[in-house]
Amino acid sequence: MTRKTRRLWIVIACLACVGSAAALTLRAFSSNIVFFMAPSQVKANPPSPDRTIRLGGMVMAGSLHRINENGTPVNAFEVTDGQAAVEVHYTGILPDLFREGQSVVALGTVQKDGGFTASEVLAKHDETYMPKEVADELKRTGKWDPRFGKAPDASSWDTMTAKKAGG
């Protein structure tokens, strides 16, 4: 075996592996990328029910209630970005840091009826902490400017919008 043929073999093997790796990556990207959406975006153009998304916003104060489906506890709460609210259903134990009136990110799918079924709920309990996506969304919609103190209570956002719309 000469140096040239050996090199050819190695190059072929490299191309085959890297090529298949690239193909696999692209295929996996096309079906498995998870987009972040705010409740208003979900309401405006709901993604198809087989598409997993990350839904982020504030848990509306007083919206958390529990439904017992044949002994399986389901947590239901509303997530809002101030313009729209989406009802989230989550079967499982909510994270230790989950609180009403605080930010949350839920991973799951949007159902045909517009509700959201979460497979995972992430929360972090901290006065100042807010997932970056949620903070950006709040700033984008003009609900919160971080220069003027901390974010307003989530339960007040809808009314803020309503007032604006009315006036």
């Binding site: 050996r6 073999w9 592996c17 295929r27 990207f29 498995n32 002994g71 134990i93 840091l97 309990h125």
Partner: protein, 659 residues
Amino acid sequence: MFGPEQGHFALALACVLALVQFAVPLWGANRRDARLVGLAPYLAVSQLIALGYSFLCLVMCAVSDDFSVQNVAANSAVSKPLLYKITGVWGNHEGSVLLWTLILAVCGGAVSLFGRNLPDILRGRVLAILGGVSAGFQMFCLLTSDPFDRVFPAPMDGQGMNPLLQDPGLAFHPPILYTGYVGFAVPFAFAVAALIEGRVDAAWGRWVRPWAVAAWCFLTCGIALGSWWSYYVLGWGGYWFWDPVENASLIPWLTGTALVHSAIVVEKREGLKIWTVLLAIATFSFSLSGTFLVRSGILNSVHAFANDPARGVFILALLAIVIGGSLALFAWRAPSLTSTGLFSPISREGSLVLNNILLCSICAVVVTGTMYPPFMQLLAGRTISVGKPFFDAATIPLTLPLLLAMGVGTALPWKRAQLARTFSHLYAAAGIAAIGLVLCFWKLSGVLPIACGALAIWVIAASASDVLRRIGIGHTSAQGVWERMKHLPRSSWGAALAHIGAGITVLGLCGMSQAQHAIVEVHIGETRSLAGDDWTLLDVHDYIGPNYKAMQADIAIRHNGKLVTILHPEKRDFTTQSQTTTEVAIHTNFITDLYGVVGDRHGTGKDTTYVLRLHRNPLAPWMWLGGLVMAIGGAFSLSDRRMRIGAPKRAAARNMARA
């Protein structure tokens, strides 16, 4: 004696010593001045002593509750147990950077002590490179993240540590993981020294391999420990979340595994030299960027960067110098390195090349998946994330040929192999793998788990049969077998063990893909069944711990009416930090884990219900057991005589003569 000022001074002293350690031996090696080069080991050891003293000072500040030190005030508290006061030192950014440089200094000290058989000039250059990296990070520590900063007025008590981190598993996880990360600095320094010298030969391969193997063992243990921690502490029943922090440790592990294998080819056949040097540089570069970009969160959130721009700019500049500099040197000098060993594609070398290509392809996929979201965020402004489904879909198909080749590779001879002859050695293993395939069809569901399971059995069987063949089982007498066992190099035992360990881990992963769980809401005394077991909530009671209030549940698990175990999961409420943690209860028989979590309490009086999460995780312990076996295999291979005292001489001792 051990105050923060002394520690601060010792750190500055170590930094200066590291700078000297960088400059003097390099200059001496250039001028062929043996005395200047000979200073390197002394400088390395004195730098280690200074840094060790500095680290001890920080530990003493934490132990003696010196809350005038900002770092201690922010991360410790009087009520914290002593063990966690000590381990809390590296549980924060400043302390972990100090630990990082300390481990780097330990590596330098180890090269000085154990590298006596290296040519002086090569050792001088290796130590100089290590010193340069050390100096950079000590400067980073001094200028932007000083662990000895004082605070005035000193608070009466510290803010305490995150209760999640109060766990023995996590206490020792960072040092082990960091040793793995930092350990790859030594192969990196060897690679850069070889590039400066313009020479890579079999002896170089033999010198560099033990360091790579040692670092690889620590990294393997560190990853396994981290995964075990998230399994039993976080209480989600998961073991690997493919988040950037975890990927940051997996990426150098993949290239490090490739490095450990390609260095064999350099050592035995003087082939793949350029590639091995590149892998050594890449592995350390990934370790560096992993620890400092991903772990510090600079890449993930622009906030971390904006909060402290000096820190971020410093780190980026440092990374650019180390990684960019070594790659530039590589581009300049690598063409002068030529490989000599010729081999056919079907040979041991060929299989090692395939191993490298596959490992690097997997690594490329993981890097892409980790880096794509932040780049999309930066360039397109869209927030996306990729998780387990992406990584599973993209990496598992590449792992399958890797596992297949793992079994064949060790059975192939060097240079050129005859397939028929090789396969005649593998009949037994193939038979066992076929039985394994049937077993997998019966026990597992899903195409990928079945394929992975059967291939894992194939890897284990092929590795075991390879060793058995070499020691002559079935061919020679018991006496002969014993003789051969004694003479089989430990590195062969080590390789077989490491491959078996990888097989065990893959089997564990396959088992976990069949995990079942249920989330139930029950009254006391109620029974629910999950996968053939009956789980009964016997009782729930409250008690008060040292710095928390706890709710403990007693859950009895019965199989066909026979009591298996009683689990005691807890939910703890840490009052000072107003934080809740979940204490998982796990019963294992090393085949199946029964995993119970207690959640919220609802209602009052007779109507009180509790939310429980019940998991049945087949083969879960095997994942970490396999990691341990892999690391033991590596350690076994390190104990090989050749590695310890081989004292290889270079073909022509030109360097010595010229010096």
